[in-house]
C-alpha cells in the first residue's frame, strides 16, 4: 500500500492540509485551521486595520497633504487590494499632485481590475481633462454617470469638464455634487478645480461655502486665501492669517502671506476682480 493510499483519520487529513496542501484533492475543502469565530475576528481585525489606513489617508487629504494621503492609500491597498476607494484615492491624489499622466495610467490599471467602475472612470476623465484631452474626458464622464450608483465625485468631474470647456452648465453639475455629498471637502475641491482651470471668480462662492461648513479646518481657509489672492481681494490676508492661527506651522500659508505683504496688486488681479469669472 502506497503512502497516498494509507487510510487517515479526519484530524490527520486536516493536519496534512495545513502543512502545505500536499494533497490536491483537499484543495476545495471548506475547512481551515482556524475556528470559524477566530476567522471572523481575524477578518474583522483586517478590515478595521484597512479602514484605519483609509481613514488616515482621507484625513491627510482633508488637510491638503496629498503626498501623505497617497502613501496611506497605498498602505491600505497593501493590506487589501480589493478596496476600490483606495485605488480611487490614489488616482485623485496623483491628480491633485498634478501628476496627470501618471494618474491617467493608474486609473487605467485600476479600471482593468474593476471594470466599469463609475468613480474610477470619473477619475480617469478628470486626469484626461486636466491633461487637455477634453473630448475623451467627456466621453468617460458620460460613461461614469451611466454606471449604476451615485456619487458626488462623478458630478464634480462632470462639472469640472464643463468648466474646462467654458460652459455655464458647470454650476448645475457642481450643485448636484454638493447635493450628493454635503461634506465641506466637495465645495473646496470644486473651488480648487476652478482655480486649476483659471476661473478663480467662480471659485469664491464655493470656497466660502466650504469655509462656512468647516470653519475649524485650516485647509479650507488656506484654499480660500489662495482664491482670494488670485482675485486680488484684500480678504486673502485674513484667510491666510486664520489658516496660520489654526495651524501655526503651515509653511505654504506663511509663504503666501509673506508674498502678499511684499507685493502690490497686479493688473491681472484687477482684471479678474472687475470681470469676475476670468
Amino acid at each position: 500500500m502506497t503512502d497516498s493510499e494509507t487510510p487517515h483519520s479526519h484530524s490527520e487529513l486536516f493536519t496534512l492540509k495545513i502543512k502545505g496542501n500536499r494533497m490536491g484533492r483537499f484543495d476545495k475543502l471548506e475547512v481551515s485551521a482556524e475556528q470559524p469565530d477566530e476567522r471572523q475576528s481575524s477578518r474583522a481585525e483586517n478590515a478595521r486595520r484597512d479602514r484605519s489606513w483609509l481613514d488616515q489617508a482621507i484625513e491627510e487629504r482633508r488637510c491638503g497633504h496629498y503626498e501623505n494621503g497617497l502613501r496611506l492609500y497605498s498602505r491600505a491597498l497593501e493590506e487589501d487590494k480589493s478596496l476600490v476607494s483606495g485605488w480611487l484615492g490614489q488616482v485623485q491624489m496623483l491628480i491633485f499632485l498634478d501628476e496627470l499622466v501618471e494618474a491617467e495610467l493608474w486609473s487605467r490599471k485600476a479600471l482593468e481590475l474593476f471594470p466599469g467602475n463609475g468613480d474610477l472612470m470619473a477619475g480617469r476623465a478628470q486626469a484626461l481633462g486636466r491633461n487637455g484631452d477634453l473630448t475623451e474626458a467627456l466621453v468617460l464622464s458620460d460613461g461614469s454617470l451611466r454606471q449604476s450608483g451615485q456619487s458626488a465625485y462623478r458630478w464634480q468631474v462632470r462639472g469640472e469638464l464643463m468648466a474646462a470647456t467654458r460652459q455655464d452648465t458647470d454650476r448645475h453639475c457642481f450643485d448636484k455634487a454638493m447635493q450628493a455629498d454635503p461634506d465641506w471637502l466637495v465645495p473646496l475641491e470644486i473651488a480648487a478645480a476652478y482655480v486649476h482651470f483659471n476661473l478663480p471668480g467662480r471659485a469664491v462662492d464655493r470656497v466660502r461655502r466650504s469655509v462656512a461648513l468647516a470653519p475649524e479646518r485650516y485647509f479650507a481657509w488656506f484654499v480660500q486665501g489662495r482664491v482670494e489672492r488670485e482675485l486680488g481681494l484684500s480678504t486673502a490676508e485674513k484667510s491666510f492669517r486664520r489658516c496660520l492661527d489654526l495651524c501655526p506651522g503651515h509653511i505654504e500659508a506663511a509663504r503666501c502671506l509673506r508674498e502678499l505683504e511684499q507685493s502690490g496688486r497686479s493688473l491681472k488681479q484687477m482684471w479678474r476682480r472687475i470681470f469676475g469669472s476670468r
Binding site: 497605498s74 487590494k81 496623483l94 487637455g132 473630448t135
Partner: protein
C-alpha cells in the same frame, strides 16, 4: 457566497471573477504592485512650462479634431518620441524596427538633398528638393499608415504631418539659407560666364564679411554715359550701369599697374587676373582712394564696335566699397559646369 467589491454582486462560491462586472474576486490577496508611478522632478518642472502646456493643448485639440471630423474615433496618436523622429526622414522607421526601409529613405533623401543643394537656385534644385521632400513624405505616410485606420484619417494625418514639416522645418530652413546665399541668374554671355548660369552669391554685411583681393564678386559698376560708334559706324550713346561680376584685384589705397596682362600692386607682381584677361585694356595705371577697390570689368563691357578709352576704364575699375554686393561662392547650374568660378 463571495461578494464583489466593485459591484456588490453576490457570486457563487468557488468562482474567481465576478459574474456581473468581471472584477477579480481574489484581488484581496493577489500579488499586484499597488504603488503608483510617480513623475520625477524634471518631468514636473517641464510640465509646468508654457511649451509643455502648449503641446498638451495642441495634442488635445488634434485628438478632438480627429474625433469631431469623424476621422477615427478610436485612433491613437503615435508616441511623442516617434513624432519627433519624423524630422529626419527614415529615423522613425529605423527606430520602430524597419531598419532597411528607414535607411533607404534616409540615404535617398540625403542624396537628393545634396544634389539639390549643389544646384541651388536652379529649376533642377526645385525638382530635386521636391523629390527629397517626397522621401520625407513617404516616411510620414508610413507612420500615419501604421498608426491610423481608414483612408480619410490617414490622408488627414499625412497632410497634417507634411504641413507641419513644411512650416516648421523646410520654410524656416529655406529662409535661413537665403539669409546668407542668393542665387543670381546670368542674363547674357560674357566669358567665362554664359547666359543661364546660376551663381550663388554670399552677401557682404561689412561687419563680419568684407571683400578681399582675389574674390570673385558681384558689384554695381559706376554709372557712366559715353559716346561712341556702333559696329555699323553709327554714332551712339552707351550707358554703362548695372550689376557686374568680376574679380577684386586690389584693395583700398594701393597703386595698381596693369600692363600687357600683368598686374602689379604697390610695385609687386600680383597673382590675380580679371575673369577675362582678354577683355581688359592693354595698360592701365590707377591709385586707389581709401574706400575703393580695383575691379576690371572684363566680362562684358566691350560690346559691338564700341571701344572704351583709358579714362573710361579708370572710371569703371574703381569701385567703392558699398557697391560690392557679395562674393560669388559657387556656380550651381548647368550640371556640366557646377563648381567654383575661378577662371
Amino acid at each position: 457566497m463571495a461578494q464583489c467589491s466593485n459591484c456588490q454582486f453576490q457570486n457563487m462560491p468557488g468562482v474567481t471573477h465576478c459574474g456581473r462586472c468581471g472584477a477579480s474576486l481574489t484581488l484581496r490577496t493577489a500579488v499586484i504592485n499597488v504603488h503608483p508611478p510617480r513623475a520625477n522632478s524634471w518631468a514636473k518642472s517641464w510640465r509646468k512650462t508654457f511649451l509643455a502646456r502648449f503641446m498638451r493643448s495642441a495634442r488635445g485639440s488634434a485628438r478632438s479634431a480627429n474625433r469631431q471630423w469623424g476621422l477615427s474615433p478610436n485612433a491613437e496618436l503615435p508616441s511623442l518620441g516617434l513624432l519627433c523622429r519624423l524630422v529626419v526622414p527614415g529615423w522613425a522607421q529605423i527606430h520602430s524596427g524597419q531598419a532597411t526601409f528607414g535607411k533607404s529613405l534616409l540615404v535617398g533623401y540625403a542624396v537628393l538633398f545634396a544634389a539639390a543643394a549643389a544646384c541651388f537656385g536652379s529649376s533642377a534644385c526645385s525638382f530635386l528638393l521636391g523629390m527629397a521632400f517626397a522621401c520625407h513624405g513617404i516616411s510620414v505616410y508610413d507612420v500615419a499608415r501604421r498608426s491610423s485606420v481608414g483612408l480619410k484619417n490617414r490622408a488627414f494625418r499625412v497632410l497634417l504631418g507634411c504641413g507641419l514639416l513644411g512650416s516648421l522645418v523646410y520654410i524656416p530652413g529655406y529662409s535661413f539659407a537665403t539669409r546668407f546665399v542668393d542665387a543670381v541668374v546670368i542674363q547674357q554671355n560674357g566669358y567665362p560666364l554664359q547666359a543661364g548660369d546660376v551663381l550663388l552669391v554670399r552677401r557682404f554685411n561689412y561687419s563680419q564679411l568684407t571683400p578681399r583681393a582675389g574674390d570673385v564678386v558681384q558689384y554695381e559698376i559706376a554709372g557712366d554715359s559715353v559716346m561712341g560708334r556702333t559696329a555699323a559706324g553709327v554714332a551712339a550713346r552707351y550707358l554703362i550701369q548695372g550689376a557686374r561680376i568680376d574679380r577684386v584685384l586690389a584693395g583700398p589705397g594701393q597703386v595698381i599697374t596693369w600692363e600687357n596682362g600683368q598686374l602689379t600692386v604697390d610695385g609687386q607682381r600680383s597673382p590675380w587676373r580679371p575673369l577675362n584677361p582678354g577683355g581688359a585694356p592693354a595698360s592701365l595705371g590707377v591709385t586707389l582712394p581709401s574706400d575703393s577697390w580695383f575691379i576690371l570689368p572684363s566680362t562684358d563691357v566691350a560690346t559691338g564696335g564700341f571701344q572704351p578709352t583709358k579714362e573710361n576704364w579708370e572710371t569703371w575699375s574703381i569701385v567703392k566699397t558699398p557697391q560690392i554686393e557679395g562674393r560669388i561662392v559657387w556656380r550651381s547650374w548647368p550640371w556640366s559646369r557646377i563648381g567654383f568660378v575661378d577662371d
